[in-house]
């Protein structure tokens, strides 16, 4: 099974070690290397090392990686969905330079 790494127990995303297609299942490893979750890919992960959502995330909600806020969801994100520029934005800089 393909692998993803969750860097902190409170994270809402994991980093997938490979690209993935919808319907594929990834084993999610904790920072200690033990399986802590399995997630079915809901939208294509086009490239390795991209993020997959581990939780349902509402638009405007903080997205957590490293146990910290990496930005705000700019659209609702389903568990298993690819998380990137189309649904996550900086909490410091908005998409056109205004404050988010």
């Amino acid at each position: 099974m393909k692998l993803a790494i969750r860097l902190h127990p409170s994270d809402s995303v994991a980093v997938a070690m490979e690209a993935g297609a919808p319907g594929e299942c990834f084993s999610v490893l904790s920072e200690q290397g033990a399986e802590c979750d399995r997630v079915e890919i809901a939208s294509a992960l086009p490239l390795p090392y991209h993020k997959v959502a581990l939780a349902e995330i509402a638009a405007g909600e903080a997205v957590l990686k490293y146990g910290q806020v990496i930005g705000l969801a700019s659209a609702p994100i389903r568990r298993g969905e690819w998380v990137h520029l189309h649904n996550l934005q900086s909490a410091t800089f908005g998409p056109r330079g205004e404050e988010a």
């Binding site: 790494i5 860097l7 980093v15 070690m17 290397g33 490239l47 390795p48 090392y49 991209h50 993020k51 990686k65 490293y66 910290q68 806020v69 990496i70 930005g71 998380v83 990137h84 520029l85 996550l88 934005q89 900086s90 909490a91 410091t92 800089f93 908005g94 998409p95 056109r96 330079g97 404050e99 988010a100």
Partner: protein, 395 residues
């Protein structure tokens, strides 16, 4: 395990220690660069740098040029000016510590034009190279070492593997009494509440927060957008500046932060005692290494995911990648394979200790790949005076 022991360096008369012994040709202004380049090309081992910000005396350029000439990796300096520039050879020589190394100057307009200057400069450089070749490396305490941390061409593996491994190396080096500098202030945005508690004093904590807040202000003032990351970062799985920053700061380990070194139009600050420092400055890779070299760094540890190939004119640069595909694909450029962490083949601590061992070997003369390839990248960063004046009025 604490990094301990010694490395083989070149002690200077002023107490500094070089890990290299370069004869350096420094063009003070753009108009003297072609002559300077030809002098250096004639003498194997000589390196040439120029600054490409014109011939006015921008204070940041002057401070950094002087700092580079004073860097202990430079064994002798030949300053080359045109003659009509404000940033003259005398101005740079005045700032240099002449007790530490030989310093010579040529002025093309004064000394008979290009060909006569090139001939005279090449001869001076030959004499410098001959002198430097008689100097021997000697055992030096690790406390004489200042290491610059840098990243470039990051991807999501940088924050999982390469930067955490370098963070282990940072903590080992600091525990052994070395000095470590991290910079790239824009890539600290969103991490202030993690870094500030590591400051040695409330004053340093507020300087860290101020440095980050200033970068946010500069970003907004100059129209940075949420889509501000290089394409390679985005293709590599990094989405936001905060995500990039949270990965970046892992390079600095968990050591206390001794201070924030300013590199501004007012001053260029040096570390005053060993330990870990934030040098407030650019994230532009080569220029960032330059400004850390200008306050005494002798070698750089550089993490990359996509595969940066750069070296530096006066510092050996060790490349660490956390991306196993990049290590395999670019084995001519990468020194340390932290991708083994991703593959479960090595632990973060193990790779961190390998980085310390390699850093000491490189400090003793071993050439990392960018140096073996002869890469002598050199760029210099200066702040926009208009933006800085606005920042001062607005904050």
């Amino acid at each position: 395990m604490e990094a301990h022991g010694t490395f083989l360096g070149y002690p200077r008369a002023n107490g500094q220690v070089g890990v290299r012994n370069h004869p350096l040709v420094m063009a003070t202004c753009d108009c003297a660069y072609e002559e300077a380049r030809r002098m250096a090309a004639a003498i194997p081992g000589a390196v040439v740098v120029g600054q490409f910000h014109g011939c006015g005396a921008d204070p940041m350029v002057v401070q950094q040029m002087v700092g580079i000439a004073n860097n202990p990796n430079v064994g002798a300096v030949l300053l080359v000016g045109l003659g009509c520039e404000t940033i003259s050879v005398d101005r740079l020589a005045d700032g240099m510590d002449a007790t530490a190394k030989p310093v010579e100057s040529l002025v093309i307009q004064r000394d008979g034009g290009s060909l006569k200057a090139i001939e005279a400069g090449t001869r001076l450089l030959r004499e410098m190279a001959a002198l430097l070749s008689t100097q021997q490396r000697q055992p030096c305490d690790i406390a004489r070492l200042t290491v610059a941390l840098q990243c470039g061409g990051s991807d999501a593996t940088s924050g999982i593997a390469a930067n955490p491994a370098v963070g282990v190396a940072t903590d080992r080096l600091v525990a052994a009494g070395a000095t470590v500098l991290f910079s790239e202030t824009v890539e600290l945005i969103g991490t202030g509440r993690l870094l500030a508690p590591r400051a040695v004093s409330p004053e340093v904590a507020s300087l860290i927060q101020r440095a980050i807040a200033d970068e946010v202000w500069r970003g907004k003032a100059t129209g940075i957008s949420g889509r501000s990351l290089p394409k390679g970062n985005e293709d590599g799985g990094i989405t936001t500046i905060e995500e990039k920053a949270l990965g970046n700061i892992l390079k600095s380990g968990a050591s206390p932060i001794q201070g924030v070194l300013e590199n501004s139009r007012e001053r260029l600050e040096r570390p005053t005692r060993p330990g870990l420092y934030l040098q407030n400055g650019t994230a532009w890779d080569v220029a960032s290494i330059t400004h850390m070299a200008a306050v005494g760094a002798q070698l750089a540890i550089f993490t990359t995911g996509r595969g940066s190939t750069t070296g530096h004119a006066i510092l050996p640069v060790i490349k660490v990648t956390g991306n196993p595909d990049t290590f395999r694909n670019m084995s001519d450029n990468m020194d340390v394979d932290a991708g083994r962490i991703i593959l479960g083949q090595a632990g973060i601590t193990q790779v961190g200790e390998e980085i310390v061992a390699l850093a000491l070997a490189v400090a003793s003369g071993a050439k990392p790949k960018a140096e073996a390839l002869g890469f002598t990248d050199f760029q210099m960063f200066r702040r926009d005076a208009v933006v800085e004046n606005m920042l001062r009025r607005c904050r």
